[in-house]
């Protein structure tokens, strides 16, 4: 680091260990090691209940007060053949005593419930990491299924890791010997045994899980009892076994005062939509067709009918958006939720919404493409589809949340724009945000934006005919926002017809006039461009204030980019992080902001779609860094890219060896 720029940023690193050892005396009392953070990955067969186990561990961790971030990763098949590589499902959880931004680059602890889970996850576990295996599952048959010629438990191939084979299945069966359950059924509780063991190992509170199991199996008390018994047996096993000599303590993270809950992106998005309906006074109408990873929004909203939320599972994607637009015409807040393939089908109706200038929220929870692609994996490759995927000049606002909890605010912001400007709005979430979870400070309803002012239905004539008779002109615009007048059916005297044909400025009659068309195309564009006036300046984070390289991102890359920037700053270098919530229009000052830096790096989970837009609009030589693996960026890899950009931009002012991505920290 340079003398003039001491690392003022004291923020902890996202994925660099700083274990604090504090052993308890030996003997029967086990030692307790204090850690500042840990990344655990649970991996097993799709039928092993790894997602449920992960979610429970997450809830325990959240209520304990750690900051956390999760990465569920599951196959597209509901049940691939048992014990095979394609059937492996995993759940990664990163939790810490400080604020963190990502689910962690690599696990510190890997729990593998069978040989397939071991085989497909071991390469991610750094040498020396803790590896817990269900030794019962390492049978010749299971080993053969995934192509192990010899048993890794015996052939020495796991020597580089702290390997702890535990007979999880048989111990679960033993614990449930008196439960009256058959072997197959009893075996299913082995995930709860595992959860119990981990809960002991990381000092997690257990009451929440017990309550959860009681609630979940209300109608099958014997199953609830078995799961609870297995969970307790796992916990007690940890306490008494010689196999685990240490347990770990990760203190709660200091967080701003307030009430918190754990929330996933899809949940937050659905709640944001309900809140936007309440705060605007408009009933929500969701038209949707099931598609991974967006379906959970449909499920969640379907539960909230008491808030006047109508959900319509349509016959197809086109009907979903069509019904939503019809509802908007009638004075509701029309919403449609889907993923990339659905947006492709909705394109023509989005164009109709652009033409009819009605408020409409389109949520695209992006997944790997093209075509059916990677349905359960994440990607950011629908940006250009969102921007331009329609016939004609059909601009619409595009906004993106940055974290699971932020999906709530992004939904409200999207609705604000849709109502204020009478326009369809595209909200781009993705699979990583949708399924990932984090602690979320529950907002007070009264502090949420009041959107009633954005509604303003027309109630009387707003123009006059040539002979002076008062008339209603549906395409009469608000001079400031350029929003057109919105009169809902039922309003006497304001009957009018809208549609996809070009409208005459003002009275909205069909018009084929060339000059009018040119004017209307430009006006629709100007209306969208004008939204920039309402969105505030670009969000730039440059704590040192002297960065010459900026990293720009949008959407879910916020966490990995932020964590990478922390590493860079910890190495004594300066870097600015620019994160875009609004991608169309961009914040008004974005061009000036970008011009301040010698170099702009743009990491994206696509082949450079934002970079293309930035280059086109600002003529900035953006350095695009891309990855389309279906998985989020690892912050260490991003840090290496950023460091390289810094070191090849400025005269190196960094002590040799102070590598931001190396082990020297």
């Amino acid at each position: 680091m340079t003398a003039s720029t001491p690392p003022t940023n004291g923020a902890p690193l996202d994925d660099v260990h700083a274990p604090v050892a504090s052993s308890a005396p030996g003997g029967l009392v086990k030692s307790v090691v204090e850690l500042d953070r840990v990344v655990i990955r649970l991996a097993g067969d799709s039928g092993d209940g790894m997602q449920l186990t992960g979610n429970r561990f997450t809830s325990e961790t959240a209520s304990f007060g750690n900051d956390l971030s999760t990465l569920p990763n599951f196959p597209a098949e509901i049940r691939a053949p048992t014990g095979t590589l394609p059937g492996v499902s995993s759940f990664q959880l990163h939790f810490a005593d400080h604020d963190i931004m990502t689910p962690g680059d690599a696990p510190d602890v890997l729990v593998a419930m069978n040989p397939a889970a071991l085989k497909s996850n071991l390469s991610d576990l750094p040498g020396g990491g803790l590896l817990i295996l269900d030794s019962d599952e390492f049978t010749p048959r299971n080993l053969a299924k995934v192509g192990y010629a010899t048993n890794p438990l015996e052939d020495g191939s796991l020597e580089g890791w702290q390997t702890v084979p535990v007979p999880l299945t048989s111990m679960t069966l033993d614990a449930l010997a008196d439960s009256g359950l058959g072997k197959k059924e009893a075996e299913r509780s082995k995930n709860m045994f595992t959860l119990g063991l981990l809960s002991w190992m990381y000092h997690r509170p257990t009451e929440g899980t017990v309550r959860f199991l009681e609630r979940q199996f209300r109608r099958k008390p014997e199953i609830a009892a078995a799961n609870i018994a297995a969970f307790r047996a796992g916990y007690n096993y940890g306490e008494t076994t010689e196999a685990f000599a240490v347990s770990y303590e990760i203190k709660p993270a200091p967080m701003d005062a307030g009430r918190y809950r754990n929330i996933s992106g899809n949940q937050a998005l659905a709640l944001g939509i309900v809140a936007a309906g309440q705060r605007s006074g408009l009933p929500i109408f969701l038209g949707a067709y099931p598609i991974t990873p967006a379906s959970d929004i449909l499920h969640e909203l379907s539960k909230h009918k008491s808030f006047g939320v109508r959900t319509f599972q349509a016959e197809d994607e086109i009907a979903g958006i069509g019904a939503a637009l019809g509802a908007s015409f009638g004075g509701a807040l029309g919403v449609t939720t889907t993923s990339g393939p659905g947006v492709a089908l909705k394109a023509e109706t989005i164009g109709l919404a652009v033409m009819t200038e009605l408020p409409l929220l389109i949520v695209d929870v992006q997944r790997g493409g093209p075509s059916t692609g990677l349905p359960t994996k994440t990607e950011q490759s629908d940006l250009l589809q969102a921007m331009f995927g329609r016939n004609g000049e059909a601009p619409l606002p595009v906004i993106a949340p940055r974290s699971p909890g932020d999906c709530f605010d992004a939904a409200i912001e999207a609705v604000r724009i849709a109502l204020t400007y009478r326009t369809p709005v595209m909200l781009l979430s993705d699979g990583y945000l949708a399924n990932g979870a984090e602690p979320w400070a529950v907002p007070e309803t009264a502090t949420l934006p009041d959107l009633t002012g954005a509604v303003g239905f027309a109630t009387g004539p707003n123009a006059a005919s040539t002979d002076g008779t008062p008339e209603f002109h549906p395409y009469q615009r608000d001079p400031e926002t350029l929003a057109r007048a919105w009169a809902v059916p039922g309003t006497a005297g304001l009957q009018h017809r809208i549609g996809g044909l070009e409208k005459a400025d003002g009275n909205g009659n069909i018009s084929y006039d060339p000059a009018n068309h040119d004017f209307m195309v430009r006006t629709r564009q100007a209306k969208i461009d004008g939204i920039a006036a309402s969105i505030g300046p670009t969000d730039v984070e440059d704590p040192d204030g002297d960065a010459r390289v900026a990293v720009i991102g949008w959407g879910s890359t916020y966490g990995p980019i932020g964590a990478a920037c922390r590493r860079i700053r910890a190495s004594g270098r300066s870097v600015a992080q620019i994160h875009l919530r609004h991608i169309n229009p961009f914040p008004a000052d974005l061009g000036e902001v970008l011009a301040r830096y010698d170099r702009v790096v743009c990491p994206e989970m696509n082949l450079g779609q934002l970079a293309l837009l930035l280059r086109a609009k600002y003529l900035v030589d953006v350095q695009s860094h891309t990855q389309v693996s279906g998985m989020p960026f690892r912050s260490a890899e991003l840090a290496a890219v950023i460091q390289d950009a810094i070191d090849t931009t400025s005269t190196p002012a960094v002590p040799a060896g102070a590598a931001a991505n190396g082990a020297t920290l």
């Binding site: 959240a62 007060g65 967080m255 005062a257 307030g258 009430r259 918190y260 809950r261 754990n262 929330i263 709640l271 309900v274 809140a275 006074g281 009933p283 109408f285 009918k305 008491s306 808030f307 006047g308 109508r310 319509f312 349509a314 086109i318 009907a319 069509g322 019904a323 637009l325 019809g326 509802a327 015409f329 009638g330 004075g331 509701a332 029309g334 023509e348 109706t349 164009g351 109709l352 529950v442 007070e444 309803t445 009041d450 009633t452 239905f457 109630t459 809902v488 059916p489 039922g490 309003t491 006497a492 304001l494 009957q495 017809r497 809208i498 549609g499 996809g500 044909l501 009659n509 069909i510």
Partner: protein
């Protein structure tokens, strides 16, 4: 001014399907006028169909009959797709949306389901509703959303200048079928009944009385009504329905459906409809059968098999075409059921946004 709190409150109140925001603008806009004349429904827009097009006749019939329903024009909404017929909303002084090709039933479903107070109409063509929009049509019919669908069947694509349509007869020579069409046509009434439509009727553009009669029953029906209207396209498929329109051949080949009346038709009532050996219907000579064997028309039969069998009497060349109401049965409407569920939910759970945002498990950081 209504405050935010009242909005929130009203949205959570049972028995009120209309949001306070909509109710407020409706109230502010003044008195509803339900005594209308045909001219009250005309707009200042120049009608742009070809001179002599059957669409004019249908427009006039609709404008003359609608006032008799006693619905204010601001409470009527006409949603259409794309096609010559779909220009219809522009000529009606109601609310309207001329949408995109085939999608009108979907758009109307969202409107009708969220605004059960409105009278929602769909105007569509044979291409619009049976080709590109076939999926939306059958699903609207099975759901029984409260709306009336007018299907203008001219057995041709009018707006795109004369290609064959899904109702064109096999062998039809058009621009896209110079050697004759090889597609088997849909019978729209059979299709609708296959989707378990609760109201299905058929009428002729030029038959003002018959058309008005079917339209009235369709409008009064609770649920989705489908009315197939044979419409002459004098430019690309002129005379398509001449067999039924011509006074002499018309009596011979059309079967008027009158509720409660025996199905006897043709010159001097020489033909009739009887049951066949397989549970269907067939045409017979009246003087060859027992009077008691002649089927008495009953559109309210719960089982759609009867109405379906009626629809199968006609062949693609239009001989033996039943005209009138095939089926009219009562079933719960989609919008009614949706409102009911919302009401139940509102009674069961209070709409407390703070509680919703908190969810099940929270913890507090001091």
């Amino acid at each position: 001014m209504t405050t935010l709190d009242t909005h929130v409150h009203d949205l959570g109140m049972p028995g009120n399907p209309i949001s306070a925001a909509v109710a407020e603008s409706v109230a502010l806009s003044g008195e509803k006028r339900t005594e209308l004349k045909a001219k009250d429904l005309k707009t200042d827009q120049e009608v742009r169909w070809c001179p002599g097009c059957g669409d004019y006749v249908i427009l006039n019939a609709v404008q003359s009959f609608l006032p008799s329903l006693g619905i204010a024009r601001e409470d009527m909404v006409i949603v259409s797709g794309i096609g010559c017929s779909s220009r219809f909303p522009y000529y009606m002084n109601t609310y309207g949306m001329h949408s995109i090709h085939g999608r009108a039933p979907a758009i109307a479903t969202g409107l009708a389901a969220s605004r059960p107070d409105l009278s929602v109409w769909v105007v569509t063509g044979d291409g619009d509703s049976l080709s590109i929009g076939g999926n939306h049509l059958i699903h609207a019919l099975r759901r029984n959303v409260n709306m009336t669908i007018l299907l203008f069947n001219n057995r041709i694509y009018g707006l795109t200048k004369g290609q064959y349509s899904p109702t064109s007869e096999v062998g039809k020579v058009t621009k896209s079928t110079p050697m004759g069409s090889i597609d088997a046509p849909f019978n729209p009434v059979s299709l609708a009944l296959g989707a378990d439509a609760t109201f299905v009727g058929r009428a002729m553009d030029s038959d003002r009385k018959g058309l008005t009669d079917v339209l009235r029953q369709a409008a009064e029906h609770q649920g989705t009504s489908l009315v197939e209207i044979y419409q002459n396209c004098n430019i690309f498929n002129d005379g398509a329905f001449e067999l039924l329109k011509d006074p002499t051949t018309g009596t011979q080949w059309s079967i008027p459906l009158e509720q409660g009346k025996p199905l006897v038709f043709g010159p001097d009532g020489a033909a009739c409809v009887v049951k066949d050996d397989f549970g269907g219907l067939r045409i017979a000579e009246t003087n060859q059968v027992d009077a008691a064997d002649i089927v008495v028309h009953d559109a309210t039969r719960e089982n759609p098999a009867y109405a379906f069998a009626l629809s199968r009497l006609s062949s693609q060349d239009l001989r033996y075409t039943p005209m009138g109401v095939f089926r009219s049965v009562q079933k719960p409407t989609y919008d009614g059921l949706m409102t009911e569920q919302l009401d139940t939910a509102k009674v069961q759970g209070n709409a407390d946004l703070d509680a919703l945002l908190s969810g099940g498990e929270t913890w507090t950081v001091e």
